[in-house]
């Protein structure tokens, strides 16, 4: 009897520990959200939500301060779209290659190698972009500055590629082998099978990969801070310097007076960024859930 009680006691302790650990991340999420709202919302006592979101001028330290984040949001939007232009073909293309064409040996080398791209610290990408890519872009396109949305997009795209490639390749390999066999047995060739059976079956998984790549691009800070040029001006071309949301917060938070309008405005930018990535992640989750149901893998 005594032994049994001890076991039961131990089990309860383990159960308690793991429960606490599991709920810890929920607690952090909640805490961060609360702080974001608490510190971000006060700015709307000074500027209306509309003026904040669609105001064209960001002069936070001016005597007559203006807090319009449209140029900053557009900066983020441009580099994110640009990054998608790089990471979608690169990531999905390499996933297709790894899955379809690479032999077993190639596959076992290539995929980990591409994933190592994700392990390079973002400061290194920034450094690389600043010292090597930006001057190259400047010379090639005869620009006055090499640090612009284009260079930023390029770097972000390369950074998001491993995310897209890795998740897209997983999605492709989740497609049951029996689909491929069935297609081959009907006299379909490799490309017909890929386009008509494998890709549609993996389609939502690939979309998820792209959306998560997008989250990665929009949330990246250090690289964009270093290579995008940092001008909070509405961009009219890809070759103009921009100042994405993350870079704005990183660059200005140190100088903002704690509790001041500028400080609250930066928190509000963080809040909006958080809402963006939250929406991306929810969409990705919904799509991937539909994907599992479609393939009959259960929820």
């Amino acid at each position: 009897m005594k032994i049994k009680n001890v076991t039961k006691f131990k089990e309860n302790i383990y159960r308690g520990i793991f429960t606490i650990l599991a709920f810890a991340s929920l607690f952090f999420l909640l805490g961060i959200t609360v702080i974001l709202f608490k510190e971000g919302l006060p700015i709307f006592q000074k500027v209306s939500v509309f003026d904040f979101l669609f105001g064209r001028y960001w002069y936070p330290t001016h005597a007559d301060a203006e807090f319009g984040i449209l140029p900053i949001m557009l900066g983020s939007l441009w580099v994110t779209i640009g990054a998608l232009g790089v990471c979608v073909p690169l990531g999905v293309g390499s996933a297709l290659y790894i899955h379809e064409l690479a032999g077993y040996t190639q596959k076992s080398v290539l995929k980990p190698l591409i994933e190592i791209l994700a392990a390079i610290p973002s400061i290194v990408y920034g450094f690389f972009g600043m010292v090597i890519v930006a001057p190259f872009i400047q010379r090639t396109f005869h620009l006055s500055v090499g640090l612009n949305a284009f260079t930023g997009s390029l770097m972000l795209g390369i950074m998001a590629t491993p995310t897209v490639c890795s998740i897209a390749e997983d999605a492709l390999s989740f497609v049951p082998k029996s689909f491929r066999e069935a297609s081959y047995a009907l006299g379909a060739n490799r490309w017909q099978t890929l386009i008509n059976v494998i890709m549609p079956a993996a389609g939502s998984g690939i979309s998820t990969a792209i959306i998560l790549g997008m989250s990665r691009a929009i949330g990246e800070t250090m690289t964009v801070l270093m290579v995008c040029g940092g001008a909070a001006v509405i961009p009219h071309s890809f070759f103009q310097p921009v100042r994405p949301m993350t870079a704005t917060i990183a660059a200005e938070m140190g100088e903002a007076v704690m509790g001041g309008a500028h400080y609250h405005a930066l928190f509000a930018i963080g809040l909006i960024l958080f809402l963006f990535t939250l929406v991306f992640n929810i969409i990705a989750e919904i799509i991937s859930r539909r994907f599992r149901v479609k393939l009959g893998l259960g929820r």
């Binding site: 077993y104 029996s178 081959y184 047995a185 009907l186 060739n189 008509n196 549609p200 479609k294």
Partner: protein, 253 residues
């Protein structure tokens, strides 16, 4: 008997890496007959049937020796187009594997990938194939529903319809009823009797009663060797080898 040979397996050896899975197999498959391949688990039945439409090409480090002739033509010949081979030799798999598409599109798929564009023709052919697979009555009002909504037995008949649509010369069935309930199984068995009037069928089964019921010829495989191949009644009533008798009477397996 004046049987016509449709397929012939000649001196076939097959290796997974260094491990030999099939050893000197010789079988003649006759036109409009059902040939069953039986044997204990792991004897190489599935490996053998998958060699007949080059499905095992997908396996890395596999190697084949010998010939598989379809109407006297080696399907492993150097100029042979594997896609063409697979169109001529259809296959139904152990587990029903419809595509996550509509019922109609599942059957139309084989026609489309073989370059048929005529919608009228596709519609007629889909209907005929589903009828031939004895599924029409159950699905005719919901051809646009997902194939995954069908029951297991219906899915398997859909897979048969899908295979029939491209008019193969030989139909391979790898334990087509092993994942199905008894009612669905007997439907599939009836269907096989019907189909053999127009097709040559090779079926792998672990179920000896099934082989006895539906096949004309039976090959008994054990440990990658073909022990005996003969008319089904002969195999089941008066086998030439002791080990065959032991197996069919259930002494092992």
């Amino acid at each position: 008997m004046d049987e016509k040979v449709r397929m012939e397996i000649k001196n076939m050896n097959f290796y997974y890496g260094t491990k030999q899975a099939l050893c000197d197999i010789n079988i003649q498959v006759y036109r409009n007959r059902v040939t069953a391949i039986i044997g204990p688990s792991g004897c190489g039945k599935s490996t053998l049937i998958r060699l007949l439409n080059r499905m095992n090409d997908l396996i890395p480090h596999a190697r084949i020796e010998g010939e598989v002739l379809l109407d006297g033509h080696n399907i492993y010949g150097p100029d042979e187009d594997v896609v063409d081979v697979r169109r001529k030799i259809g296959m139904v798999f152990q587990k029903p594997n419809p595509f996550p598409k509509s019922i109609f599109e599942n059957v139309a798929y084989g026609l489309r990938v073989n370059g048929i564009k005529d919608r009228q023709y596709i519609r007629r052919k889909v209907e005929k194939s589903i009828k031939d697979a004895a599924l029409w009555g159950e699905v005719k009002d919901r051809l646009n529903d997902s194939a995954l909504a069908l029951s297991g037995g219906q899915q398997q008949r859909l897979c048969i319809a899908r295979a029939l649509a491209v008019e193969p010369e030989v139909l391979l069935m790898d334990e087509p009823a092993s994942a199905l309930d008894p009612t669905s199984t007997s439907k599939i068995e009836e269907l096989i009797q019907e189909l053999k009037k127009r097709y040559t069928i090779i079926i792998v089964t672990h179920n000896m009663q099934q082989a006895a019921r539906i096949s004309d010829y039976t090959a008994f495989l054990m440990l990658g060797q073909m022990v005996e191949y003969d008319l089904t009644p002969k195999i089941f009533t008066n086998p030439a080898k002791k080990v065959t008798e032991d197996y069919i009477t259930g002494r092992f397996g």
